[in-house]
């Protein structure tokens, strides 16, 4: 099946059997290995990507359901070599440790920050509730996302 996708802002066309998982297309044919396969059953969140702006588990999406849709993976966050404030905050505040959950965590957090300018800790925890992390105890991730929200607010308001 021919599937047209907008992946990280670029139009891509893949020819794939329709039930192949979006995750396999991203990591295989499209060479985007940021999204990881953890559990392969929608439990762990490390394959999280944005599908039309909403975070989904790429292991549960069939490529045949994706024609004409927009996908954003972790590779689509940074501009060139410049990390986004969210990525920088995850690095600076210990939100990224072993790194397995990080691609999915970043996408889940990015989706939240696009929707909520000043999220509460509770909203942050709810937004990443589908992303399992075994390193951080989550608190550093919450702190990182709060710092990223503050950085984004500052960026959009400009210097005072």
């Amino acid at each position: 099946m021919r599937v047209e996708l907008l992946v990280n802002g670029q139009e891509r066309v893949v020819e794939m059997p329709p039930m192949v998982r979006l995750l396999d297309v991203l990591r295989g044919q499209l060479g985007l290995i940021g999204a990881k396969e953890g559990c392969g059953e929608g439990e762990c969140g490390t394959c999280t990507v944005m599908l039309d702006g909403e975070p989904v588990n790429a292991c549960l999406v069939a490529i045949g359901q994706c024609n004409g849709r927009e996908i954003i993976t972790v590779e689509g966050l940074a501009e060139g070599e410049h990390l986004t404030p969210l990525q920088q905050c995850m690095a600076d505040h210990g939100g990224a440790q072993c790194g397995i959950c990080t691609p999915g965590m970043l996408i889940a957090a990015e989706a939240l920050l696009r929707r909520e300018r000043s999220p509460s800790d509770e909203q942050i925890r709810a937004a990443v509730a589908g992303n399992i992390c075994r390193c951080t105890g989550y608190q550093r991730i919450v702190i990182s996302i709060q710092e990223a929200a503050a950085a984004r607010r500052e960026q959009s308001e400009g210097p005072r």
Binding site: P17, M19, R21, L60, Q65, I132
Partner: protein, 296 residues
């Protein structure tokens, strides 16, 4: 089947509800059958995990973006939720927030955000798992399930749709189009309780949805359903009858507990035990009755 079998599947995208009904009717004798695919939260996992099951593969019919199966409306007191509407869409719907707030609250507890963005009420009804949070929540509103086939449309109460553990009376060539219910007046009391191992990504040990209308010390409408305590979504008929037959002041802990115990029939399994589920069932139902003003 396993992930390596995925390339062998065919997928069809019907253009209309009529085309879908015709297709699933014509293909109903097909070896392997037809699998209607919405959010994929069951089918994709099942395919990946079923091991080396041999035999013919089902024809996959993608219904996830079919307009007639999607969307939420409210007209003349009746709330209609398209079967392929996702839990995230239900959660964010102003109409649902206003008329059926229980469903919004439940939506936040289905899996995590990534599952809410994909999972659908119709999918949970089609697989007929008694553990489905969404079905227990909508069951409190005493809904009808709208089914469509080449033979036309029919509406079934939930009790007639769910016929046993993961069994339903939906014909193989029928599609669930929507769920409809008449919610109680805006502002009526409701409850959602989910008991799981953790807040997110947990299948319920016990979950409960309830709605009520209270008039001068008496409950005039009472909808209650529990997940994961019976082979089907438990509609709590004895408890409903007990609560409706008694003034709130006459509802006793012993009477209520006895009714709950008549209704539920849980099992020991990987998530919990029979005893704990009975205990939780009593506890959550009492909590709802306390909220309504009973001394239990």
């Amino acid at each position: 089947m396993s992930v390596t079998d995925l390339p062998r599947f065919d997928m069809v995208h019907p253009e209309s509800l009529e085309a879908l009904c015709t297709l699933i009717h014509e293909e109903k004798e097909r070896p392997g059958g037809v699998a209607m695919l919405a959010g994929g939260t069951d089918l994709m996992v099942e395919i990946a995990q079923t091991g080396s099951r041999s035999g013919p593969l089902p024809l996959v019919v993608d219904i996830s973006r079919m307009a007639p199966l999607r969307g939420i409306s409210f007209d003349a007191g009746r709330l209609r939720i398209g079967a392929a509407t996702t839990y995230l869409e239900i959660e964010r719907s102003g109409l649902v927030q206003q008329h059926a707030p229980l469903l919004c609250r439940m939506g936040q507890d289905v899996g995590g955000p990534t599952i809410q963005a994909r999972g659908t009420l119709g999918g949970n009804l089609a697989t007929s798992s008694p553990a489905a949070d969404g079905v227990a929540a909508i069951a409190a509103y005493d809904p009808v399930i709208v089914l469509r086939s080449v033979r036309g449309e029919r509406q079934l109460p939930l009790a007639e749709l769910q016929t046993g553990y993961k069994q339903s009376s939906r014909a193989v060539d029928e599609v669930i189009v929507a769920v409809e219910c008449d919610p109680p007046p805006v502002g009526s009391p409701w409850i959602w309780r989910k008991v799981g191992t953790r807040l997110a990504q947990a299948i319920s040990k016990v979950a409960m949805g309830g709605v009520a209308v209270v008039d001068e010390g008496r409950i005039s409408r009472f909808g209650l359903a529990l997940a994961s305590v019976a082979p089907v979504t438990c509609l709590m008929s004895a408890t409903r009858a007990y609560v409706l037959e008694n003034e709130l002041s006459a509802v006793s802990t012993a009477g209520l507990d006895a009714a709950v115990e008549r209704d539920v029939a849980p099992i020991d399994d990987i998530r919990s035990t029979r005893d704990y589920r009975v205990h939780c069932s009593r506890a959550v139902v009492r909590a709802f009755l306390r909220q309504l003003g009973a001394s239990v």
